[in-house]
């Protein structure tokens, strides 16, 4: 009975997410968003309550993906190397759009409780991925056992975000690598 929608919703969400991610929430107009998603206004409002509502969907969508991307193949091989790879991938993308979670944390979280919750949920997932890897590294002896795994995972999450900030203005990848190396030296 119902006519099926013409566009692919996951694809549209993915495209819209990337736009909010790279341009920021306030700087992105609804028309920008629709153009990037490749859909019309009516279709958009048929699925989402508005721009703000879409932001939460985008944050969830991003959170789903980022951990998978950063921690691909993290379960095998060296735990320290897996963690180092997450830092390296930030360095590779220096000067680009950064981390959507951090962007929203900085732009919106201090004045919007709902966004704060969504960002926190995403950062917790990242923290959890670090935690699992740290625990594994502590078992194999790669990572010192004198430090609390939970604290270390939070420290790594914060350090990654610090590196992201620096990567916005610092183009010299060797500088970023030295900073990353210093951050990771805590694990030894």
């Amino acid at each position: 009975m119902p006519r099926p929608r013409e566009f692919d919703l996951p694809t549209a969400v993915d495209r819209g997410t990337h736009l909010l991610w790279s341009k920021g929430y306030e700087a992105t107009s609804l028309d920008d968003l629709l153009l990037a998603m490749g859909i019309g206004k009516s279709s958009f409002y048929a699925v989402f309550r508005g721009k703000r509502d879409f932001l939460f969907k985008a944050l969830d969508h991003y959170s789903d993906q980022v951990v998978d991307t950063l921690f691909r193949d993290a379960a095998r091989g060296s735990a320290r190397a897996a963690i180092a790879r997450t830092f390296e991938s930030v360095i590779e993308r220096a000067g680009m759009e950064g981390c959507f979670l951090q962007n929203c944390a900085i732009e919106l979280a201090h004045r919007d409780a709902e966004t704060r919750v969504a960002v926190r949920r995403g950062l917790r997932r990242l923290e959890k991925a670090y935690y699992d890897t740290v625990v594994r590294g502590q078992k194999t002896g790669e990572i010192r056992k004198t430090a609390d795994a939970l604290t270390l995972s939070r420290y790594l999450t914060a350090s990654l975000n610090g590196l992201q900030t620096l990567a916005r203005v610092e183009r010299d990848r060797n500088v970023l690598r030295q900073v990353a190396q210093t951050s990771l030296s805590v694990l030894k």
Copy 2:
């Protein structure tokens, strides 16, 4: 001959800076800005070329102040304690407006070259303050001499920004303190 302006320019700049700092550039309208600064449009455009021009003035103004504030009395007493105090003052202001330099780095730096330059200049000042303190600490033996002072100062700048990000969504100050302590453990 010329009629003197009615408002105090430094005060107006300071107020405007604080608004851009707390609300973000895109989310702040020119009218918001004028209201906060307590001046009219004509007066504003008589002094600044526009909203964007004011941003640069605000960034410079902020950069002048933030280092002074964070490193007040940093030259005397323990160097490690002075650095720890900068982290502590971030923790005290958890959930608030964060660091204007980081905010602009995240919101604007990747798509605006001029802002990037202004932010980098500000972060370099912070880095320099850390550098001086680290060098002093290394002389007194408080901070290990095996690490390069310049790298350490960059690491501290990045770590402070990482803590700022976490402080946007994490209200538990003990968690933030543990992360800060882990960051500072690199100095030993």
